[in-house]
Symmetry: C2
Subunit: 350 residues, 2 copies
DNA sequence: TTGAAAGCGCTAACAC
DNA sequence: GTGTTAGCGCTTTCAA
């Protein structure tokens, strides 16, 4: 019954401890340690130094709980995420967690599945009194643009995640955001496949920005291409690859599609890296886990999450925030560089 | 500069509102609404009913922040997770999030990577004053058993996640925990493969509990098997499969190994579901995304996370908690049920 | 430039 | 049974 009264052994340093140590009032300490800019301008440099030194020496950690109790909201950032289940999302989450932990904020993740859309998330976040929101809209934020606008209009802090890059139209251009330069990804793939000698192209999957950047690049070289949406069966794509011939490059806009096609190709005796060049997107599979290894595009999702949360916290404290753009990176492997050229392709020791 | 003063439009119902509505004191409301058992025994049933009715009607939401400020810790649950990057972990996280949201608690995830082990996590959680911890130790919790024991001894609330099932030895048997019956998973796979006519077996990958349960089951039928650790190359496994012949069943203890082997087999012209039965574990790939579709074992990780957090919150409020066991489920697909038996195996329309 | 004091929403002694 | 009161750690007036 008395579990709740248990206090940690390390009872923690509070402002009063610092005030005592630095021989000043709690208010002065608060002013100096307050994360907002220009709060401590009223305190003399000497006092400030004393306070900062004490805080550092005593190992002070802010109690965001108490801080936000006063403010009428909670030191928790609501994070709205698409319901993709893969490493990228996990990477993003990890980045958010590191950031939040560094700043002593909490996180509350909400996944855009059957149980909650952006509107429901915003309602919940409001009722819950989250101090700020990180919104990674599944597609176009227009879906719930009005609710989002209202939330911001009533003083809510929001940062948008736009992995599709700046090309996507958004009705809330004034919101701070983190971009992923998706177009660059498409361009990198195109350049790489062209360099590997591909002259005919198949695009498998959707993703407007990366696809159109890819197309733009290959069209410069007057190459043919066929585009299959992700609804298509690998069989249809294989037929097209066969008709195109050996100098075909396949751009799968998602690794999961690439693996799907990969297995289907092998099943047909067409070996990626030899009879066709195959490139995925997302780097979901450790390269040593597919035969042949799959060329793919790495996206710095962890960094994206890390930065987005930092931006949000800056915004909460009224510090200046700037939009950020991140760049994907091509990771060439056997499926485009070439595979098993020296022998008959057998990897079995037999 | 005045961003921080912005208050939500919905200013929220507090205990005082309910006290006013139910014509009683704030203390009485607190006593009734306090989540701990036996707190409200001193309040008369009639008053209690009035208070509960008011709370419900006004849509009261507890302010855990204020609640825990008083208690000297924060309404945030620290969650220590292995650094696996896959859907299962995400499922677990989703379950935790739903639970935490329902109870108005926050979460702080920490991943067991190069930057933090269990010891570091415990130190951080203590300094941060998390009200409770959910610990999913990578392997044997003995790694940091001493720190964990100390943490609990000083009043810390902990729930363990043990996906390996009860078979794993643990130095802290008194800790509440959620189990996943991993042995059952191995047994399900063995039974299924035996039923599909397999008489020779290859095990690829590690995972003591599920492997030994699998072995136990096939040994009952006096079947041969060879065990390859996940360090092995698919080539070695393929050689073994060839030497065993057509009635071979392969149990990959992870889907990622199954896919690795899957691609390598296809590459060699051996078709899972036809020349060999292949079974994975984890259900990481939507079955329609591999050719042939992969039989695998579903593990209710979302439910596991959901329950674990609930248990933790029960524990925080001094309610009785009971260990829970969850059961994996076999999802049979083409790779064991049979694939392309009617034609020559061609799936291409050509 | 600094400090005293009130108060955020809740809990828990202690009175009544 | 119920109410009064004093905080939890911090922010922010307001006075000095």
């Amino acid at each position: 019954m008395k579990q709740l009264m248990v206090k940690e052994a390390t009872s923690g340093i509070v402002l009063a401890d610092i005030a005592a140590d630095a021989a000043c009032s709690v208010a002065a300490v608060s002013l100096v340690l307050n994360p907002r800019p220009d709060r401590d301008s009223r305190i003399s440099p000497r006092t400030r130094e004393r306070i900062l030194a004490s805080a550092r020496r005593l190992g002070y950690r802010p109690n965001r709980n108490a801080e936000f109790l006063k403010r009428g909201c909670i030191p928790e950032i609501g994070v709205f995420l698409p319901d993709f289940g893969n490493d990228l999302m996990l990477e993003f989450i990890k980045g958010c967690c590191v950031s939040a932990k560094e700043e002593a904020f909490s996180l509350s993740f909400c996944f855009d599945d059957a149980s909650a859309d952006l509107g429901a998330f915003l309602a919940e976040a409001t009722a819950r009194r989250n101090c700020a929101l990180l919104v990674y809209p599944r597609q176009d934020p227009r879906d719930a643009g009005e609710e989002l606008r209202r939330y911001c209009a009533s003083g809510g802090k929001v940062v948008l995640v736009e992995p599709q890059g700046p090309a996507v139209r958004c009705p809330l251009p004034e919101l701070p955001r983190v971009f992923l330069d998706d177009g660059l990804g498409g361009k990198l793939v195109a350049d790489h496949l062209l360099k590997q000698g591909c002259r005919n192209f198949v695009i498998y999957g959707d993703g407007r920005t990366r696809v159109s950047a890819f197309v733009k690049q290959i069209e410069k070289k007057r190459c043919r291409f066929t585009h299959f949406s992700m609804r298509h069966d690998p069989a249809a794509i294989i037929a097209e690859i066969r008709s195109f011939g050996a100098d075909t490059g396949v751009f799968c806009t998602l690794d999961i599609l690439a693996v799907s096609l990969h297995t289907a190709l092998l099943r047909e005796g067409i070996i990626p890296g030899r009879e066709v060049k195959l490139c995925g997107y997302d780097c979901l599979f450790s390269p040593d886990r597919l035969t042949p290894k799959l060329t793919s595009v790495f996206q710095p999702f962890r960094e994206l999450g890390y930065r987005a949360v930092k931006m949000l916290i800056d915004q909460v404290y009224g510090r200046a925030v700037e939009n950020m753009t991140f760049r994907p990176e091509l990771m060439p492997q056997e499926s485009t560089l070439g595979y098993g050229k020296t022998d008959n392709g057998a990897t079995s020791p037999k």
